[in-house]
């Protein structure tokens, strides 16, 4: 398998755009499971407080060209993407070390 840096860069750019978009529209995330829980008044049990709970740092939104933009949500999304990238790459590198 060839190592294609251009393709990897394209994938990362798409990931960054998705992290931005996803954070922007995350407040509209309301899945079938959430709806069932709401009907049943079922609350999730919070056994610990995650550092970026709800994909946000908790800052207020800012108004950008007429749109309410959750900057902290965008930052949280990018941080998460970077954490996953580093973890997955590190694990894959360790697993492939003996073949390199």
């Amino acid at each position: 398998m060839k190592l294609d840096y251009v393709m990897l860069l394209k994938i990362l750019v798409v990931a960054a755009i998705l992290a931005f978009l996803g954070s922007w529209v995350a407040s509209y995330a309301y899945e079938p499971l959430d709806k069932a829980a709401e009907i049943l008044n079922l609350k999730e049990v919070e056994i610990f407080k995650a550092p970026l709970s709800g994909y946000t740092l908790g800052w207020k939104t800012i108004n950008l060209l007429g749109y309410e933009l959750d900057v902290s949500g965008v930052i949280a999304g990018v941080i998460g993407t970077l954490i996953v990238l580093i973890l997955a790459y590190a694990l894959a590198s360790v697993l492939s070390r003996k073949k390199s």
């Binding site: 060839k2 393709m7 509209y28 709806k35 079922l42 709970s53 709800g54 999304g77 790459y89 590190a90």
Partner: protein, 218 residues
């Protein structure tokens, strides 16, 4: 589809976690034999892409509910179902620990649905479709698009079926039994799955054009 803490009974959560263990062991063994210095960056970037893509929700009809990509069929088609299991296990762990998206006690259940079932069923559907279409006189690219679409669609639908079964078996805490949870989860995600299938097909088709060595047709 992420089940938070408190939605599964301890028994169901434990059994789901125990079912995951052999799949983790098998997946680590398999990728150890196939990963090399060139596969590692691709695996890392694909996993990051899936994480980011899971944050984008799209509406699935009346009631205001939304759905999102799970991505395990895509990773499975491009790398292998074993890579899909590991990629989604990493994503679900980060989502639970850093974002409270999906619980810790339900981690095993979420892995079973989105990582194990999503990867293996999605990949099996992709391969089966290619095999069936192999006998037809159809353009090779069309075969890849149709097979990828079905891989993504069937993968997420069966992942939702797995989640529905786990929730139904946890009716003492979740409130609904199998007769409700299975059809509700499966039907709603069969609709969401059209998006999963379309994204999987577009991504696999694009990669088959720029990196045909990654998309094996046989």
């Amino acid at each position: 589809m992420h089940m938070p803490d408190g939605f599964l009974t301890l028994q169901v959560a434990t059994i789901a976690f125990l079912i995951d263990i052999p799949f983790w062991i098998l997946s680590f063994k398999k990728v150890r034999n196939t990963f090399d210095a060139k596969t590692a960056p691709l695996f890392g970037t694909l996993t990051a892409l899936i994480f980011a893509a899971q944050m984008v929700n799209w509406p699935i009809g009346p009631g205001g509910t939304t759905g999102h990509l799970i991505g395990s069929p895509l990773v499975s088609i491009l790398l292998s179902p074993y890579s899909g299991v590991i990629a989604l296990s990493i994503i679900l762990l980060v989502q639970a620990l850093v974002f409270n998206d999906g619980g810790l006690t339900t981690y095993g259940g979420n892995v079973l649905s989105m990582a194990v079932v999503g990867s293996f069923v999605g990949y099996a559907a992709y391969k089966a479709t290619l095999k069936i279409m192999g006998k037809l006189k159809v353009n090779e690219k069309a075969k890849i698009i149709v097979a990828s679409f079905l891989g993504g669609w069937i993968g997420i639908t069966f992942a939702a079926l797995s989640t529905g079964i786990q929730l139904g078996l946890s009716s003492s805490v979740f409130g609904y039994g199998l007769s409700i949870t299975v059809p509700v989860m499966t039907i709603s995600h069969a609709i969401i799955g059209i998006g999963e299938g379309a994204i999987t097909a577009v991504a696999v088709y694009y990669i088959s054009k720029v990196r045909p060595d990654l998309v094996r047709e046989e």
